[in-house]
Symmetry: C2
Subunit: 343 residues, 2 copies
């Protein structure tokens, strides 16, 4: 048995109604639904079929039906297909042109949370493919050097190293020139042993300092990648959905959002080359890589800032989230981001 047009219509009606109310929807409700003029009895028969096909579920014998994960999946695929062409504009989204990408991302998470009434999370860009733009050593205390590393996208990392000997201003200047000449324009991956060896050779007496600098660069970038910057916002929005807001579930969910490392799973998968760049990913219920979110749906989208500088935006809500709006919003935001920074 396949989904004929009427079944599709009924299924859509059921899901849409459920999205609004959050309550199981009965046959009578649908029969009053404007488009199709059918009695509740007929609807009941169709619903029975739809249930057999696995698109809807009865929470208990004498309740209405709610969409199953499969039902949501049908609905979402439909939406994504329809929306695919029209990237609606969204002027209200006031992205102030900020130089600091990270602040922007933080703001983004907040704006999204406010706009959608769901919890959001935004992962900071990962660095592996990123080109170094600028390195600067400066003496801050007699034996303490400040290292500033700027990478594509104008993202800045700072750290300190402590040197054995005190370096003169001139030595520092020379080191700076050397480091910038050797490393600028390279991605982290391209800084391989060959480059490093050459660099050390040229550094002469200060090879030790160079080593420390490289180490710090690596550590800064690695650390960045390890405990991936993740910004979350609107966690308490989940309290707006009764099906998620019982103590047990809410506690678990919010905990998960607090412990950012648990969220990695959501991004790793996204970052695989298989997923095409701007594609939007929807995880429904059990499909999600993060176990504590099995009663939620998660929609994620990748953004690309510069070459190899990419991250992910995610929205977490109840299974009955407004997929239409969420997918649309994400699409807009991502294309905004790409436009603003993609050059």
């Amino acid at each position: 048995m396949e989904l004929d047009e009427r079944k599709e219509k009924i299924l859509k009606a059921i899901i849409q109604t459920y999205l609004e109310t959050g309550e199981p929807v009965g046959s009578r409700t649908i029969s009053k639904y404007s488009d199709l003029n059918l009695s509740s009895a007929t609807i009941r028969n169709e619903m029975s079929d739809l249930e057999e096909l696995g698109y809807i579920i009865q929470p208990h014998t004498s309740a209405g039906r709610i969409p199953s994960d499969k039902g949501y999946r049908f609905y979402v695929d439909q939406i994504i297909r329809e929306k695919d062409s029209q990237v609606s504009q969204m002027q209200e989204l006031m992205i102030q042109r900020v130089d600091r990408v990270e602040l922007l991302l933080k703001q983004m998470a907040q704006i999204l949370a406010n706009n959608t009434n769901y919890a959001t999370l935004v992962s900071g860009p990962s660095y592996h493919q990123t080109k170094l733009k600028f390195i600067q050593l400066s003496r801050v205390e007699s034996h303490k050097l400040l290292i500033v590393v700027v990478v594509e996208g104008n993202i800045i990392r700072n750290s300190f190293i402590t040197t054995d000997e005190e370096l003169s201003d001139e030595e520092i200047l020379n080191l700076n020139i050397l480091l910038n000449n050797s490393l600028n324009g390279l991605t982290i991956r391209e800084i391989n042993l060959g480059v490093i060896a050459k660099l050390k050779e040229q550094a002469g007496a200060h090879r030790q300092v160079v080593e420390m600098v490289l180490n710090e660069v690596a550590v800064a970038v690695e650390a960045q990648d390890e405990d991936l910057q993740i910004y979350t916002s609107g966690a308490t929005n989940i309290f707006k959905y009764p099906e998620l807001s019982d103590t047990q579930r809410a506690s678990e969910l919010i905990s998960t959002l607090e412990q950012k490392e648990l969220l990695k799973g959501l991004f790793d998968e996204q970052n695989e080359p298989s997923a095409s760049d701007s594609e939007i990913q929807v995880y429904i219920g059990d499909e999600t890589p993060v176990r504590t979110m099995k009663d939620c749906s998660v929609v994620t989208a990748n953004y690309v800032l510069g070459e190899g500088l990419r991250g992910t935006i995610g929205i977490i809500g109840p299974k009955r989230m407004d997929y239409e709006k969420v997918v649309g919003t994400l699409r807009t935001v991502v294309s905004q981001l790409n436009e603003t920074f993609g050059k």
Copy 2:
């Protein structure tokens, strides 16, 4: 009528028992309490007195008693007085000596949350009194300069400015020397019009750049002060306490912790000169400056890193929090911090 010794003992016993169980405590429970050999009837009489004095409350006629805010206050004052001398050490608190204060603070919030099972928040240091240590201008793109500002405590601020004209390496070098000579060692407050005027004069043709730099310094520091860095952790710990974990209250509380700006009230008060530096402040119930926390207790402590570089650590839990432990822990942590960074 005053609190005689026996009343004090009973009151303490009631509060301690309630701290553990979270349930109203009855006279029989106390009469079994080892130290005092009194029958439940006697206890009842005393409890009746204590209630009249306002130290304890009956949630309803036939329930045991729970401490009133006044009761908690009595208990807390007691604790603080007792603990005041012995600053217990706490080796397990593994503060890795990190140069980046902010990372440290973030970690601190987490460690505290894990240790205490309450929600924690740590405010980043405020800058107004802070001495500038180091300023560095560097060209990143042809018309774009990176400004790095390091202040006491090795806290780093970065920002970008865009210049009209392209500056030569030499010009930048000179500006750097000028800026550092003029500003290093000054606090933000000390950079007044006189200093600025002199600086501009010396800058000659580049007064415009200097102006922008000063502006950025101010903005960076101000912005820092405005949306005060606040790190929170362990928000979901509140679910461990039934009296706070009903949907309504939990939602409110966690929301408050998420919107950091709502927490400012907690720090402003602390930062007034009236409160002596390392003093520990306990807000019980309605005493708290943040309205949504009126069913909680909040314990805060100030830390001091360098001259004028101070912040606050707070712990938020149910009124029946383990004040003894919390006050002790905070005292330790603060003295640790002071020791590590106070030079």
